[in-house]
């Protein structure tokens, strides 16, 4: 039996079907989760996909954090269940305080869609074990509110604890502090990043690379190995 990975759909979520596909490509079972439903359907891990949940009104992720499904996700994440937040999902995770910091509008004020080079800074998370620490990958980036910020003390702490999970290479596309593209919580089960690994899992589509597949194979090994 393979791992069951839940993919949450909020109103305005866009990349839920892509994320389900990425989960399947990696060999796991994708389980759709609905924002109004507290029931996580016994999934082993949850992905919060990208999009504009609730239209990003008020502030990206600000309304979604109060949805019924998030009550269960927060509870389970604190108990150790792996959770990955991609783009809007990362914004939701910061709004829930499962991850520190916040995302502001890109420093150039435009939406940007590009093939982005990243360095995987740590492979000691549930979602990055299949990468080498220091490995460089390229996956699509697409957002308008992608500038990661936190106070200096938090940034120093993240660095000191090895919790900066991904850093932008070559170009910092949005003015994120310390080139941070993604971070993890202390336990390594909750990871959030702005770029989109689910758009880089098949050689044929998107950028033509499969650099994002490692996120999904990592979690699969993590979960199946744990049984």
């Amino acid at each position: 039996m393979t791992a069951r990975i839940g993919v949450v759909t909020f109103p305005g979520t866009l990349d839920d079907r892509d994320t389900q596909r990425a989960v399947r490509v990696a060999g796991a079972e994708a389980v759709p989760l609905w924002h109004r439903d507290k029931d996580l359907k016994q999934v082993d891990a949850v992905v919060l996909p990208g999009g504009f949940s609730y239209g990003d009104y008020l502030r990206a992720g600000a309304i979604s954090r109060f949805s019924p499904v998030m009550e269960s996700v927060i509870e389970q994440a604190k108990a150790g269940m792996p959770v990955l937040g991609i783009c809007n999902g990362f914004q939701v995770l910061t709004e829930t305080h499962l991850l520190p910091g916040a995302m502001l509008r890109n420093n150039h004020l435009h939406f940007i869609c590009r093939d982005q080079k990243l360095r995987v800074e740590t492979n000691s998370t549930a979602w990055t074990a299949d990468y080498e620490a220091g490995q460089e990958i390229s996956i699509p980036l697409k957002n308008i509110d992608g500038r990661y910020v936190a106070d200096e003390r938090t940034l120093d702490l993240l660095e000191a604890e090895g919790r900066v999970a991904f850093r932008y290479l070559d170009v910092n596309p949005n003015g994120s502090l310390r080139d941070i593209a993604g971070i993890t919580n202390e336990a390594g089960n909750v990871v959030g990043l702005m770029p989109h690994p689910e758009h880089a899992v098949e050689p044929l589509v998107g950028t033509g690379r499969t650099d994002g597949l490692g996120f999904f194979t990592s979690i699969l090994k993590n979960l199946v190995g744990a049984r």
């Binding site: 305005g12 892509d18 990003d56 697409k142 689910e198 589509v205 950028t207």
Partner: protein
């Protein structure tokens, strides 16, 4: 305040009505009175005026558009033709594809962000209404001079609007164009196209049938936006004194539209609708009259049940409102509960506003009193038809006599190099990445090719790798020189682009952007362009599935260049065989397909170097285009070519530079015998493409071209880090990249 009911209209036959302010002509108003046998009520007048407008009734263009339905090529792929929300073609494996291009030109000039955003929203709803999941969008755009101050206002707003709306819908933006020309200064062209995919059995049509079926309005509440001219009606009929003028440009909410898409697709999956129509131009007036006139019975609507954003709206305003993100469905009574449940799931407001009735009238009530009683066909389909006078402009001969071949050519290789560098950096030829990077091209995870490729391509089926491709093209400069040929060149280029990507062209949609139909010069351009396009489609075997006409694109007496934009849809059985434009493999051979003549009329070179527009556009040879397309498709399918790029504005050198920069490789070119370097590099002869051929395939490829009679010339090899034309000049990739990439951000970032 008196409500202008049908009864009241009967009792007050001589009451004055603001028909002229609503844009109706005296004879049009008389005809309405004749149809109804009395004066129209205010609400009826509102409906007729907006539905008989140029935008909704095609009254000036209809007599010419007829050709698209008459000169129909043999084509088994056509499932739904002109007249529905969008045409539908069969792409095999049980899949059907619907696609269309529309304009949102005037609103985008007034309010660039919202104008462009709601343009995307409107075309997406058209596609959705056919029963399809929207899978991609494209945006052909035209602006005034790149360095004009107003272009700095319009372009960033339009681009942000397209991105802001389209990105929130989760639709990859895979293609389109950005063109600058001073002729569009006061009339930017913001066209938007959308592709949708469904199974054959899921095709839905806009018709209301089945007496007793419910009419459900769902989506956003109705507000006072997009009403424009009708406010005069409210103020004149109802003696109101305050400033009743409402915004003429609609305001979009992409979040609402995303919910509407998912909600509607779920409704389709459960087969809950008998007929469906999106609300776009003319809002409820259009949706109710079109649904009713396409169905078998009549329709009764209780207008006071429509959910409002602004409770002070008059019935006339509600009928005319162009509030976005609304749909109208006809649902059998026993399916209404489930319909409502799905809407509730998606937080979409849905209201039963009426029902299908026996008889043949569209009847609308306001708190129980009847304000509309009309035969719906007379509103929706039997509007006025004009045979506008047209005549070849007096200046056309002089324009064509001003031959571009008389322009001074570069004196030596150094000047040729300088001119090419200038061309590559010119706003029309420069990289548009700064613009297209503001659009999401990856969402949905099916994007095979996106800009700057020749055509956008998306995968339709993950198991079989079936895919569809689309390209949009239109060259207003060519069309100005010869509208008949210009329209065919737009068709040919779009067709060629689709074929260059490896897909087989199936059918077309068009967006015909012209000046005022009341000007016989413009009307001649329109007549010639439609004739050219219809003849061209017949010859290439690609039927017109639908389209859009945008007239009155002019400032004062000056019209834009006639700009027919053609979107060609193609199908590819296996997307792994698609052909990108990038030259990647060093050592591969470069072949030029087709014939190069000294053709510079309307060319990019004549514009950039000489600011000249005159002479004749490149010669059209559609049989050659068809042969070229067949060769490109076969070569792609059989693995004989690794890259292909069509040749169009900027000629060979522009194509080679783009392919080199895309693949980050250089190329060494040799000027073929019988051609001078200038003509070889910069001529815009049609029916050509450049391909990159693996050495192992060279013989097979050239044999195939030879056997089929397509001229093929070996022009060089993929090699190095520069574009080198032997005996002429060398331009390093770095130099070319800087020239190509920096122009647009330099102007707009």
């Amino acid at each position: 305040m008196t409500l202008d009911t049908v009864k009241h209209a009967e009792q007050t036959p001589e009451a004055g009505q603001p028909w002229a302010d609503l844009g109706l002509k005296p004879d049009e108003y008389e005809r309405i009175r004749e149809i109804l046998g009395r004066r129209p009520t205010g609400a009826e007048l509102a409906m007729y005026s907006v539905m008989w407008s140029e935008h909704c009734s095609y009254k000036s263009s209809k007599v010419h558009l007829k050709q698209f339905g008459e000169k129909v090529p043999e084509n088994d792929a056509m499932l739904v033709g002109i007249g529905e929300n969008a045409g539908v073609v069969d792409v095999g494996q049980g899949y059907a594809v619907t696609f269309k291009v529309e304009s949102h030109n005037h609103p985008s000039y007034i309010e660039p962000y919202q104008g462009a955003a709601t343009g995307v929203g409107g075309i997406v709803r058209d596609i959705l209404a056919m029963g399809a999941r929207p899978v991609a969008v494209v945006d052909p755009l035209r602006f005034g001079a790149a360095d004009h101050p107003d272009t700095k206002r319009v372009l960033p707003g339009v681009v942000a609007g397209i991105g802001g709306y389209g990105n929130c819908l989760g639709l990859p933006n895979i293609g389109g164009e950005v063109v600058f020309d001073p002729c569009y200064q006061g009339n930017p062209l913001v066209n938007a196209g959308c592709i949708g995919v469904m199974k054959h059995e899921d095709i839905h049509l806009a018709k209301a049938s089945g007496t007793g079926n419910k009419v459900i309005l769902y989506g956003a509440r109705t507000g006072g936006d997009g009403i424009g001219g009708v406010s005069v009606l409210a103020s004149e009929t109802f003696e109101s004194t305050g400033p009743a003028k409402r915004p003429a440009v609609q305001v979009g909410d992409p979040f609402q539209e995303k919910l509407l898409i998912e909600c509607t697709l779920e409704i389709f999956r459960e087969k809950l609708v008998a007929g469906i129509q999106d609300l776009g131009g003319a809002g409820l007036s259009c949706a109710t009259s079109e649904l009713a006139s396409a169905g078998s019975g009549g329709m009764r609507v209780d207008l006071d049940t429509v959910p409002l954003r602004d409770s002070s709206l008059s019935p006339e305003e509600i009928l005319m409102s162009e509030s976005q993100e609304r749909m109208c469905a006809v649902v059998e009574p026993d399916k209404v509960d489930r319909f409502m449940e799905i809407c509730e799931k998606w937080d979409v407001i849905a209201t039963v506003i009426g029902e299908v009735t026996e008889g043949e009238r569209l009847e609308i009530f306001w708190h129980g009193e009847q304000i509309v009683d009309v035969p719906p066909r007379t509103v929706a389909h039997e509007g006025p038809v004009y045979h506008r006078p047209y005549e070849r402009p007096s200046w056309q001969d002089a324009l064509q006599a001003d031959d571009a071949n008389k322009l001074a050519r570069p004196a030596d290789a150094t000047e040729l190099k300088e001119q090419i560098l200038k061309l590559v950096a010119s706003p029309n030829q420069a990289s548009k990445a700064w613009i297209t990077d503001q659009y999401d091209r990856f969402v949905q995870g099916n994007t095979i090719l996106a800009q700057p490729e020749d055509a956008g391509m998306v995968r339709v089926d993950e198991e079989s790798n079936l895919g569809v491709a689309m390209a949009t093209d239109g060259n207003g400069r060519y069309a100005k020189l010869d509208p008949y040929a210009g329209a065919q060149l737009a068709l040919a280029e779009s067709y060629r682009n689709v074929a260059a990507s490896g897909a087989k062209p199936l059918a077309i949609s068009n967006c015909l952007n012209f000046g005022s139909p009341e000007d016989p010069d413009v009307m001649w351009q329109f007549a010639e362009a439609t004739r050219g396009l219809a003849d061209g489609c017949l010859q290439l075997g690609t039927p017109v599935t639908g389209g859009n006409v945008s007239l009155y694109n002019q400032t004062g007496e000056t019209a834009i260049h006639p700009t027919p934009v053609v979107a060609v849809l193609g199908v590819i059985d296996d997307v792994t065989r698609r052909t990108p434009i990038a030259f990647k493999e060093e050592g591969q051979l470069l072949y030029l397909l087709g014939e190069t003549r000294a053709e510079f009329g309307g060319s990019a070179w004549s514009q950039v170097v000489h600011d000249h527009l005159g002479g004749l556009p490149p010669k059209v040879d559609l049989e050659r285009e068809r042969l070229l397309a067949e060769i490109l498709i076969s070569a792609s399918r059989d693995g004989m070519i690794d890259a292909a790029h069509d040749l169009s504005d900027g000629g060979l050198v522009q194509a080679v530079v783009e392919s080199c920069l895309r693949g980050n490789t250089g190329a060494r070119l040799v000027v073929p015998d019988g051609l001078d370097a200038f003509t070889f590099l910069l001529s815009e002869s049609a029916g050509r493409a450049v391909v990159s051929v693996p050495r192992s395939e060279e013989l097979r490829f050239t044999d195939m071209c030879g056997a089929r009679g397509l001229p093929v010339t070996r022009i060089g090899v993929v090699d190095g880090t520069a574009v080198e034309v032997q005996g002429q000049f060398t331009l390093s990739l770095d130099e070319l990249r800087a020239a190509h990439a920096e122009t647009i951000p330099g102007l707009f970032a």
